[in-house]
C-alpha cells in the first residue's frame, strides 16, 4: 500500500518542538531541535545510529527530560505537566518500541488488556474482549491471542506491540525503528501496517528509522537528523537532492526501487 498525504492539516501542529537540547554527560545529542508534526501527517526522522532519534521521541513522551527547549503535544507543554496530567496525555500517544517491549510474563491477550483496564474505569469484560479482538484484527494476528510473546516471531511481536498502543485509540503514534531486525518482506508488511493505522485510526505519526524503504513508503515528510540538528527537512526526493557529503552516502548505501 502506498501512503497518501491527502488529510494533512498544515494549520494544526499536534507536536511542536522548539530549541530542544539534550546531553548525556559531555555528549551533546540534540543541539537545538525545532520540529512541527501536523495533524494527519507521517513524519519520518532519519539518521544514523546514535544521532539521538530515539532520544527525541522519549523526550516527546516524557520518558526523558530535556536540558533546554519546549515540547508541546496536543496543546500541552510536556515539561509543565504534573505526573497525573502527563499520565493522561500519554494515553493519547501510542509508543511502539524498537524491540516491541511486550510483557514477557503475560499472554498476548493480557498484554493488550493491560493498558485498557488501567485507563478505562468501569469497562466491562465484553468491551475489553471486543477491543482486544478489534486491534488484533487490525494487525492481522487474531490467532495469536493466547500465545506468549516468546512464541511469536519478530514481525508478530512488532505487530502486537503496535496493537497494544492502538487499543487506547491514540491520536499520535511514535514508532521507534519499526522495521529494525526484520526481513525485507516483513518490513514491507510493517510499512503497510503503519499506513493502514494512519488511515484507519486517523493518527499523526513520527517514525524513527534508518531504513530508507520504510521512510519512502510511510513518510509524508522526512527530517534528516545529523550532528544533533535537523539538516534537511522536506519530501523524500527533496531531502536527498543534495551534494551534502553527510547525506549522500546515506542514500547511496540503501537500495530503493
Amino acid at each position: 500500500m502506498k501512503h497518501t498525504a491527502a488529510n494533512i492539516d498544515h494549520n494544526n501542529a499536534v507536536i511542536s518542538i522548539r530549541g530542544l537540547e539534550k546531553s548525556f554527560g559531555d555528549y551533546d545529542v540534540l543541539r537545538g531541535i525545532d520540529l512541527d508534526l501536523y495533524q494527519g501527517e507521517n513524519l519520518v526522522v532519519l539518521g544514523r545510529s546514535g544521532t539521538g532519534k530515539s532520544v527525541l521521541i522519549k523526550l516527546i513522551s516524557g520518558l526523558l527530560r530535556p536540558d533546554k527547549g519546549s515540547i508541546k503535544v496536543l496543546g500541552n507543554d510536556v515539561l509543565m505537566l504534573s505526573t497525573k496530567e502527563l499520565q493522561e496525555l500519554r494515553i493519547r500517544i501510542g509508543f511502539s518500541f524498537q524491540n516491541s517491549a511486550l510483557y514477557d510474563s503475560m499472554t498476548v491477550r493480557k498484554n493488550l488488556e493491560f493498558p485498557l483496564v488501567r485507563n478505562r474505569k468501569g469497562i466491562t469484560r465484553g468491551e475489553i474482549d471486543n477491543a482486544v479482538e478489534t486491534v488484533l484484527d487490525a494487525v492481522g494476528l487474531s490467532q495469536t491471542i493466547n500465545q506468549m510473546p516468546s512464541e511469536l516471531s519478530g514481525g508478530q511481536r512488532k505487530r502486537i506491540g503496535i496493537a497494544r498502543t492502538l487499543i487506547l485509540n491514540p491520536e499520535i503514534m511514535l514508532y521507534d525503528e519499526p522495521t529494525a531486525g526484520l526481513d525485507p518482506i516483513t518490513c514491507i508488511e510493517i510499512n503497510d501496517l503503519i499506513n493502514e493505522v494512519q488511515q484507519r485510526y486517523h493518527t499523526s505519526s513520527i517514525i524513527i528509522t534508518h531504513d530508507l524503504t520504510c521512510a519512502k513508503s510511510t513518510g509524508d515528510r522526512i527530517a534528516m537528523l545529523l550532528d544533533g540538528q535537523f539538516q534537511r527537512v522536506g519530501k523524500f526526493d527533496e531531502v536527498f537532492a543534495t551534494d551534502d557529503e553527510r547525506v549522500k552516502p546515506f542514500f547511496d548505501y540503501n537500495f530503493i526501487q
Binding site: Q87, E88, R90, F97, N99, D104, F114, R164, L168
Partner: protein, 269 residues
C-alpha cells in the same frame, strides 16, 4: 605534573577519588530514601493491584516452600545433634528442647529464612525487573498511562514483607520437628514433653521480636531487589549486576538488622 610543576588536568588531586566515592554514597542513599518514600506513598493508595500482589505472594511463598522445609528441618536436626555432646558433658541433655527452641525461634529461623529468601527471591526480583528495564517493558508501562512502580514494585515489596514472616514461622516449626526427631531418636522423649519444655523459656517478647525481625527482613529483601532491578541499566550486564547486588546487599543488611533488633529487643526484656 608537567615540567613547570603545575598539575595537569589528567592528574587526579589527592583525595578527589575519596570525595567522589563519598558523594556517590550520599547520592545513592538519597535515591534509596526517595525510592522507599515513593513505596509508602503509592502502596497504600488505590487503585490496588490485588491480583498481581496475590501472584507475587504465590511466587515468593509457595514456590519457596520446598526449600524452606528442607533447610528448616536440617537446621533443627543438625543443631540438636551438634549441641548434644556439650550438654552430655554436663549431664544436661534434658535442656536440649529449650536450647533448640531458643536458638531456632529467636535467631535461626528468621535469619536462615531471610538468607534463603535473599538468594532465591531477591535475586529473582532483581533479575526480572532488571530485564524488564533493559527491554523497555517498564518504559512501555509508563507511556501507556499506567503506573509501573505500583504494579511492579509495591506488589513485590508487600509480598515479601508479608510472606517472609510466614515462611520464617513455618521454618521454625519444621526446625522444631527436626530437633524433636533427633531428641526422640536418642533420648526417647515424647512429643508433648519435648514441646512443653521447648516453649517453656519462650516469652511473648521473644516471639514479637522474631516476627518484627522477619517483617523487616522481608521488607528489606523486597526493597533491595526492586531498587536494584528497577534502576538497572547497561543492558544484560546490568541485569546480572542487579541480581547479584540484590542478594549481596540484602544479605548484608539482614545481618545488620539482626544485630540492631536483638539489641533493641534486649531493652524490652
Amino acid at each position: 605534573m608537567d615540567k613547570a610543576g603545575t598539575t595537569t588536568s589528567r592528574e587526579k588531586k589527592p583525595g578527589s577519588s575519596l570525595k567522589k566515592r563519598l558523594t556517590n554514597v550520599f547520592v545513592d542513599l538519597y535515591k534509596v530514601g526517595s525510592f522507599t518514600g515513593r513505596f509508602f506513598k503509592e502502596a497504600f493508595l488505590p487503585p490496588f493491584e490485588l491480583k498481581e500482589f496475590m501472584r507475587q505472594c504465590y511466587e515468593v511463598g509457595v514456590r519457596s516452600f520446598p526449600l524452606i522445609s528442607l533447610t528448616g528441618f536440617i537446621v533443627g536436626f543438625i543443631f540438636t545433634k551438634q549441641s548434644r555432646p556439650s550438654l552430655t558433658d554436663f549431664g544436661a541433655t534434658s535442656w536440649l528442647p529449650s536450647l533448640v527452641s531458643i536458638a531456632v525461634l529467636k535467631a535461626l529461623a528468621p535469619l536462615v529464612t531471610a538468607l534463603i529468601a535473599a538468594g532465591k527471591v531477591g535475586s529473582s526480583i532483581g533479575a526480572e525487573l532488571g530485564s524488564m528495564r533493559v527491554t523497555e517493558q517498564i518504559d512501555a508501562m509508563e507511556v501507556s498511562g499506567t503506573k509501573p512502580f505500583k504494579f511492579l514494585v509495591c506488589t513485590r515489596i508487600l509480598a515479601t514483607t508479608i510472606t517472609i514472616p510466614l515462611l520464617a514461622t513455618y521454618s521454625a516449626l519444621i526446625a522444631l520437628v527436626g530437633g524433636f526427631l533427633n531428641v526422640a531418636q536418642n533420648e526417647g522423649t515424647s512429643y508433648s514433653a519435648f514441646m512443653q519444655s521447648a516453649f517453656e523459656p519462650i516469652t511473648f517478647t521473644d516471639i514479637t521480636a522474631s516476627l518484627v525481625k522477619a517483617i523487616v527482613f522481608g521488607f528489606t529483601i523486597g526493597l533491595v531487589g526492586c531498587y536494584q532491578g528497577y534502576n538497572s541499566n547497561k543492558g544484560t550486564e546490568g541485569v546480572g549486576k542487579a541480581a547479584n547486588n540484590a542478594v549481596v546487599i540484602a544479605m548484608f543488611l539482614v545481618f545488620i538488622e539482626e544485630v540492631l533488633i536483638v539489641q533493641i529487643a534486649g531493652w524490652f526484656r
